[in-house]
Amino acid sequence: MLEITSRNKRRIAMIVALFWSLGLSAQTLVYEREFSMIAEADNTLRITLSEDDRIVIERPFFMTRAGRFEATAPAGSYERLAAELSGLAPTSRTVREDIRQRATNELVYVTDPEYTRFMLLGDQRQVVEAVEATSLEAWSRVFTDDVRLANLAELEREWLDVMSRSLTGDAE
């Protein structure tokens, strides 16, 4: 049994601080956009947002400002995006299949699908919450009466806005 001495307390505090600094002790939000028409491994935009609003942006080679960036997101970004994902996830799990079948019924097609993944990862990097959607930008304009699509598309826009503001240093 570990004896809690003042020395141990300092060690524990240091370890906790280290884990926090590495982003390993807290949950993180992840947004991924797989541009699957690009047949190379580097085809995914990935944004990782920590509880303290630290943000890591990885932009694939074919995007403007390609590369990896670390910045501070606008204050409250994590809290807001986490809350929205939590609210959307239960009703959005079947949206991909529903859209696919409805598209066939109504004879409408969106080619070259892109995959968006919204994820909440736990402190062990396990997936706590996840929603995957296909070609959100396109389908949300086709099926404007689908509230799930509209909400997911709005969540995607918010993620991209957070990315844009973080890249430009507009984190107010």
Partner: protein
Amino acid sequence: MTIRKPLRKTAFHAALAAAGLAVSANAMAGAFLFAGSEQSDGSTLPFDIITHPPAYFGSGGDVNVSVCINPSSEAIDEMQVSLANAIDTWNRREPASPNLFFGSSNDIPSGAVDFESTLLHELGHCLGLAHPNEATESGLSPTNRDYTRTNPGPNRQRDLDPGADGIRGSADDLRGDDINLHWFAIDTNNPFVLSTPIDISNYSRDLADLPGGDTFAANADRSVGAALGFAQTEAVMQQGAFGDEDQRQLAVDDVATLGLGMAGLDRTAGTADDYRPVLVYGGVQEDCDINIDVSGSSFAFCQAGGQFINQSGSPPHIRISSADVQLGSTSQINWFFSVSEDLFADGFETPPSE
């Protein structure tokens, strides 16, 4: 971007779709949009659907397809040459081999994506063509997306075995009960060699029509082309683009698939319902047959609506009733816009005489 409401399915359409369940393996259709798509009731649209360009209603002759740039689009000036070239390429329908150029063999900077090549691909979708390969819509892993396009078949999963040559999408693939959606040349099953006339006398979707020894329809993937002696060649409609890649000329498979549609509703070349698609640039305006828009966060797609043409015919035909191409914003995608117009000299909307 102008988004038109998709057409509602009529009772007739539902009946056609239901009939699709009973369609035999004979004379089925190939890599066309909508063919074999699954509906919410578990049925599929007929596998033998051929999808035609906008403005084709079943009558022969020239079918003019207007292509415009949305007034709200970015890069209107920058895309002019790329668009002109892409229109000209589809109008000429002249296959080339090789048609893939990399590095110093093209004018595309490293890290950039060729706008013209991407637009050429999306225009093909807007003319009714689907991917010849399984592509991303199959949900397969990247390495398996090169297999020939299919419906999963009765066992509800795609059966994937590349055969002895180890090449996915080649003629010795073993695909179990997967339902082939790719038209192939009956005499060769070689997607890099044109069989004429381009109609159902030379092309089939029925695996029983394969040449002896072949087990599945080969598609025009670059690895298949290399094995068949057509290096650096791939169908434009094959999904899968690379950085610094120039693919601005059609391959035989692109010409063959569009040509099959051009044989008309009877699918027989040389008859009255044959047509020639003529893409015509309509300038910067809304509500054309195909509308181009550079904006948003997506990479590239064509959003197409469909409408059945032959309400009493079998097998069924669809025409594209609305088509919008969106390519990603220049603030997001590092596009390379063509600057050379050397592909054409006499007006890019002028098709060849055939």
